[in-house]
Amino acid sequence: MRAAITSAPIDAPALLREVAQPANGAAVLFLGTVREQNEGRAVTGIDYAAYERMAELELEKIVREACDQFGTEHVVAEHRIGHLDVGEASVAIAAAHPHRARAFEAARWVIEEVKIRLPVWKREEYVDGTREWVGNHAGTPSYEAADSRFPIPDSR
């Protein structure tokens, strides 16, 4: 397992190679990429910002939890920060397992947790030159919904 916040372009095939093992019959790779439009507005690029030290820890926690939950050590995740052009990958998750159901579920679980928990923000740039911080996409839990399910320790 491995997790990283990176400002370099994500090498998706390298992530696949990283999880490939002779014991695994299935590998799943998820790539999230910058779309050319969001909610009807033409997007020219996205700046991703992060609370970097925490994001790295939190992504490691997510990957660790996925490994424990789905029974594999072969999950890796990278989230890119900085400026991304349309089509570039902002996040990549690779998961491998002897059986395909678990590989699919692990990759899916990690991206859902990333959307809820990872302290990362994005500012979209539009064709007209304006820029705007945007919240969660439709389909991901809202801030309030996310809040209630965070694993907050009883006391620090």
């Binding site: 609370y51 990333v114 302290p119 923000w121 996409h137």
Partner: protein
């Protein structure tokens, strides 16, 4: 005691700063720190109960703070 509040994304824009040092009474909670931030210029950007992490871990608004804590106010996340 003092704690350092970290601000990100739209919150940083609203406050015009990435971080703010807050002077709080001993025993102050996260909610107290958020109230202190809300009274500053730009503080109206904060929701009633923002997500907060203390020293890199998500925390509860009722948790008490200690001198030197790093208190990150987390806007709605948008990773992925």
């Amino acid at each position: 005691m003092t704690v350092t509040a970290l601000l990100f994304a739209s919150y940083a824009d609203a406050f015009g700063a990435d971080s703010v040092v807050l002077d709080l009474r001993p025993g102050a909670t996260i909610a107290d720190a958020v109230d202190a931030l809300r009274s500053r210029p730009g503080g109206s950007v904060l929701p009633s109960s923002p997500l907060v992490a203390v020293n890199l871990v998500y925390a509860d608004a009722r948790d008490t703070l200690e001198h030197g804590d790093e208190v990150a106010i987390i806007p709605p996340v948008a990773g992925g």
